[in-house]
Symmetry: C2
Amino acid sequence: MLKPRRYAILGTGALGGFYGARLSHAGADVHFLLHSDFEHVRRHGLVIDSKDGDFVLPEVQAYSDVHEMPRCDVAVVALKATQNHLLPSLLPPVLADGGVVLLMQNGLGGEEEAAKAAPGHAVLGGLCFLCSNKVGPGHIRHLDYGNVRLAEHAADSGPAGVSDRTRGIAQDFTSAGIQVDIEEDLVLARWQKLVWNVPMSGLSVVLETDTQALMADPHTRALAEDIMHEVVAGARACGRHVHHSFVQKMIDMTLAMAPYRASMKVDFDEGKPMEVEAIYGNPLRAARSAGAAMPLVETLYRQLKFLDYPNKRDMARRRARSS
Amino acid sequence: MLKPRRYAILGTGALGGFYGARLSHAGADVHFLLHSDFEHVRRHGLVIDSKDGDFVLPEVQAYSDVHEMPRCDVAVVALKATQNHLLPSLLPPVLADGGVVLLMQNGLGGEEEAAKAAPGHAVLGGLCFLCSNKVGPGHIRHLDYGNVRLAEHAADSGPAGVSDRTRGIAQDFTSAGIQVDIEEDLVLARWQKLVWNVPMSGLSVVLETDTQALMADPHTRALAEDIMHEVVAGARACGRHVHHSFVQKMIDMTLAMAPYRASMKVDFDEGKPMEVEAIYGNPLRAARSAGAAMPLVETLYRQLKFLDYPNKRDMARRRARSS
């Protein structure tokens, strides 16, 4: 492909804003869809405070309506998974012929939703290991990490191998200073990420804490380990072999991290819907279809469903404000 | 026994204060051990607001030191189970020859602790179904229920049958207007109570809610039912046959109750230690010794152990004050 790829960033928050700004800063043609920050970003651009070096994009191609965007070669879905009901209205207008969807979300099942919403287009999954927060309108603070694992979605959810288009997108990200690993099996990569995400996100919300406190208490650390092993068993039932030693690797990694507020905890504290179905419901249903129960994961799922109710979210928001 | 039984109430709170005051009001010889309310109660007595009729005991035999109390025929332990490390210093000075301990606590294992603390004395267990709160110094509000199941502890924890002393104490309680049922198997009665207590207490604390909200949400209701069935299975492993239909009975009972803040939730909100070992740790260990795992109960146990840490209790207290 000689023509440079044109990117659409659907959802310019802590994640989409960060990766989109990096691509744009490196010279890519990037078009940002915004909601609440549209007016501010149209006038003032994006400001990125990053541990890898601060930078500003004073002029940004910003849109509040997907129908005003040009058709793009890559539509990066950087919305929360709770917004995926919007994909059928967002994706078709913004995709060029042969354009691909790159879904940068947590959990399982998002690529199926994207594929249904954009028939005839290839779908890639991007697993992001990123600590970043939106600290103001158009203002993103990148705290740590930032690498991406990239893999292609297959209609049968099996390993899809590595295509030229995946390599091309990875090249664009790499040129923008983002470390990318290409994976052959998207679903395996997603289960691996769930091994950490399922215990850490849910327990952080239910027990109102952070990753370090969970590790420091022997009871919650043992609970997190048991949940991780259950996720490994669920993955295996779904035909994805994660070694049980991966659990110890995740524990060691968490112990080495600075205290971290999981993104689901951030959503909860801000009174936003949590990605409970993507991170818990979909893996539970996939494992159950494959004959594997995950009772500890289901316990967390049910606790989170209770806390995700709108009136409970209001309570959490009020409490976060008063503390 | 022609001489009327003399009672010591060890712990004059919402529970000990209520039952002791009823016994005293009905003419029994009752001696109250108090801690923070001692001066107030010595001067002003006890005030009971009860759905069965308010009453006042203007003069109360109040003590702040167990060594000043007369030796009694029945030492009622109405402390929280978290205080049972005090039993070896509290019980021997207050028990008459042939005196018995009546342990009115939640959970499992308290009678063993009492028996060790008072060698040579019989131990009875009292399971209280009581909604009452302490609303001020020496001031108790009785909201609902109040019946007691009474049974004798056996050294081998087997069914102990019904002795004359149990019948005599039951008679005193009945004369004081308290409904008493005598049980032959204390451990069976304790497991039955755990079927309700384990899910309802723990989920109320972890999810910061009440029994009605837990029943209204289909996810937490299903979780509570699954936990109840797990407790039933644990009881069976320990040789106590609770029928699985008992679970539906407990659900129906909870649905029929007014919204209720479990006593463990009250303790948590007030920044007090929770009875985690009595209600979770001891049943878990008993079931495990009998070869039964209770993974959902263990999950709640670990979550509660995390929240029961002193610094987390401080947080809970601050939050309760600010809301």
